[in-house]
Symmetry: C2
Subunit: 410 residues, 2 copies
């Protein structure tokens, strides 16, 4: 780490953290995977801007890796949370907010007849898988290799401490590949509990892929034919593409869906939703956690959904994401730099061609960072309702300079 | 459910919930396991009191099933949380609070050289087990049958949707039973990854048992002899019995410990702490979640720990718990009702003798509930720093009447 790029407090916090936190930081927020110069520690956020601990301001295109869907510290959400905090958050049972939120979600998400709440996306995906096994009395789970469904032994992308038995009932397919899906289902035979799919392919460091409607329909028909559950992992995409479930626009409804990230604009909450077919099974599953009925995050979710719906948040994010994408595409062409943009406009990915080691991408985002725009070289990024056309144009003025640097290197 | 016992809003919320929440409610906060008359939905809390949605006030001995260790809505904790919320909670990386909290915990918890954070107790126990397997390259986990370590397939007390492979590497012992511990370790052979123990035996519906120091020492020596981890599950007991780790008073230090519940007075937070031996392994484990770096709950934890330390919270809770226990014992004797109280005074259990179906216990707590005291017939209860001698005496005036009812039934 070059000293000039890491200013005082971030540097001293890293040194302190090395003593009391394994590796100085862990998980997806560890900056080891980012170019040198990225801050590790943050002080505050507001709208689509955030500040690191050394006071540097960034126009943010990560949105806390997804949760911040309205912008940081949205006043209506924070006010709802504050009001609930003044009554109580974690009590001896749920509050009225839980019923209100479940009703709201059932009214909004097409396939949902019921909802349950937890704290992590991994809680939600694990509950879906366990529920599918309990309901069907079967064991095999068909899922895409490389897909991220959480960070516990049955699904972690880095299988440290994982035993072979943790995944003995997993059968892997290629996302969007019907032949591999059919082969996996055949392999499962009469032991198929579920087909688990992401809303779209958003594997780390790869080009994103929207779901092929034929693949989605085949997943649905195979689940039906085998009395298995179709589980949609909407943890990352949910409420950014549509408020009705990410496969709703292609007309394919899952039996169970897993939600988290954007559901409460950064307050810790996750949800499982399901249809009538799995209601009885869901009432038999023992799924619980100390803070799962916390009323504050549910009040925040209710406010988040209200704002998203009133403002047509997904459409605004799509327009802003498209404005960014169009501008970036024009700049790349003008500078003669080959890139590929992929995924939904609300969750853009920008990868450079001929960049297997991400060297170009890393330099590009670092040049943007120096100019106050926070991008990611490998992971998909996120738009929020707080991003305006002016913010996008500001970002584009910066990416234009960053492309200029890359062009000179070629 | 008799209509007279469930008032208007609680009843209507149950009816609404039945439509949109599986079974109307799920997990440990579902009142199905409690006598008819217990409220399902709560409106607010303050100190050691809470109110249900119909405005009925209770002197609370469940403390949200553990998290509320200072009393509901402690002003210093809520103020720290509010201040942090005004800066930012869920950002693109951790805040300074994470380093401060890890430093604070390492300074306080005897065995801890580092800390990592998550959201659920189950996150923490799962991380410990996975970490032990990664660090040792071995697979077997020795744990007590009937012990609660979370609600996911490897450990859930209700194995719906669980496959045999989820537990193929678990070897069960009897808590405090050295012979069964030694036999399990022998059975694991050279594949022992960890011995996982609760701070004390607090199995649902059973008499509680403090750890036998000889058992604790044997667990430590067997872990050492087999190059395995000793994991202490301090999720339920941590910060109520001592601030230094629940086995610190008996002089046995674990390698890894799991924490949650009381760590932030109700704000959603969990932690894994570990010693030098496991630091490198912990830096290799991919453990992460969308909200795990949330600064608000960490600010709340820092405030919670300050208040607990300044007020000597564990000692206050012990004194209040002992006052309750002594009073209850005297009343039971006076009324000629045979009961057994067990566990640490801060986490009391009151079970009736000759009460296999919990009928006496259920009637007893219902009589207390009607008089405004919230007790539990099967699960251990919890004291908080907010309970004063006057509150305990108020509770005792109620339990005296409740014992009178039980005495007449005999």
């Amino acid at each position: 780490m070059t000293e000039s790029r890491i200013a005082g407090l971030d540097r001293s916090l890293r040194q302190r953290a090395l003593k009391v936190v394994p590796g100085g930081m862990y998980g997806h927020m560890r900056v080891a995977g980012l170019p040198e110069g990225y801050p590790q520690f943050f002080a505050r956020g507001e709208g689509c801007y955030l500040w690191d601990v050394d006071g540097r301001k960034y126009l943010d295109f990560m949105c806390s890796w997804g949760p911040v869907v309205l912008g940081h510290r949205h006043p209506k959400v924070d006010e709802a949370a504050r009001r609930q905090m003044e009554q109580g958050d974690c009590l001896n049972g749920p509050s009225e907010r839980m019923v209100e939120l479940a009703e709201r979600l059932v009214g909004l998400v097409t396939h949902a007849d019921w909802a349950m709440f937890s704290k992590n996306g991994t809680d939600a995906t694990t509950t879906c898988v366990t529920l599918a096994r309990g309901a069907t009395g079967k064991r095999k789970i068909v899922l895409a290799s490389g897909a991220y469904h959480g960070a516990v032994p049955w699904c972690s992308p880095y299988p440290y401490g994982v035993t072979s038995e943790d995944r003995v009932h997993a059968i892997y397919i290629k996302y969007n590949d019907i032949a591999s899906l059919e082969a996996a289902v055949a392999q499962a035979g009469n032991d198929l509990a579920a087909i688990l799919v992401s809303a779209f392919r958003h594997d780390y460091g790869q080009h994103q892929e929207l779901p092929d409607p034929a693949f989605a329909r085949r997943a649905r028909s195979l689940a039906d034919a085998n009395d298995a559950a179709l589980i949609l992992d909407d943890v990352r995409a949910g409420f950014r593409l549509t408020l009705h479930g990410s496969w709703d626009p292609i007309g394919v409804q899952p039996d169970l869906s897993a939600w988290s990230k954007a559901i409460a604009n950064g307050y810790a909450l996750a949800a499982v939703m399901g249809n009538e077919r799995f209601r009885q099974a869901a009432s038999q599953l023992y799924a619980t956690g100390s803070f799962w009925c916390g009323a504050t995050s549910m009040a925040a979710a209710l406010a988040t959904i209200d704002v998203l719906e009133t403002a047509n948040g997904p459409e605004h994010m799509r327009l802003m994401g498209q404005r960014l994408r169009d501008g970036v595409a024009a700049q790349a062409a003008r500078h003669g730099v080959a890139i590929r943009q992929s995924g939904p406009a609300q969750m853009p990915s920008i990868l450079f061609e001929d960049d297997a080691d991400y060297a170009k991408g890393s330099r590009f985002v670092l040049e943007a960072l120096k100019r106050g725009v926070y991008l990611h070289p490998k992971h998909n990024m996120f738009l929020s309702l707080a991003h305006t056309a002016a913010d996008i144009d500001l970002a584009l003025s910066v990416t234009d300079e960053a492309f200029g640097v890359i062009a000179k290197l070629q």
